[in-house]
């Protein structure tokens, strides 16, 4: 793998890694349904410590998936990416194809 190729796969992996966690997927889902949401609301939806949610959001931000803006003492997060719905469509097809296959194996 030359340097360019390595960089290509590493940058892709960085984005996928940022998405690859149940809590962060839920954050993205919520954000896809609203224009912008504060950390406090997101924390309530996720149900873990606010510090944990804040770190998840930082990861999504570092990957370029969300952006944030401070209004008063609250910080609002917003999706930067529009194509995630089709991406999840693909992921779901993997999930269901695989489950179907596992059932086949079991039976």
């Amino acid at each position: 793998m030359d340097k360019d190729e390595k960089a290509k796969y590493e940058s892709r992996a960085k984005v996928l890694k940022a998405l690859a966690h149940p809590a962060r997927l839920k954050l993205v889902d919520i954000l896809s349904e609203h224009d912008e949401v504060c950390v406090c609301e997101l924390t309530e939806a996720i149900g873990t410590d606010m510090s944990t949610v804040s770190r998840h959001l930082t990861q999504l931000k570092n990957a370029g998936i969300v952006e944030s803006e401070k209004h008063g003492q609250m910080v609002f997060y917003r999706l930067r990416v529009k194509c995630l719905t089709s991406l999840f469509g693909c992921i779901e097809s993997v999930v269901h194809g695989h489950l179907k296959n596992q059932l086949k194996v079991l039976s």
Copy 2:
């Protein structure tokens, strides 16, 4: 998060996690260009120990992304998923949008 919702995000995360590694992304890329490829060839392309490549392939298989078949003493891997190209299109748009944004910040 109720049980169904939890399961939904966990199954998505599992697939994304399986993809979220440079070596595994390259494996998927190679497999998307060929019908089926043996572990030995994939190992040469990746450039790490064959045992490591074998484990990466196992992860992709457990996630439902690839399948394998043994012919003689060789094991051939094949992509099970057709939609990955559009998925990576989305990922790339995140990467480039983000880089553009970082350059803006720097200047």
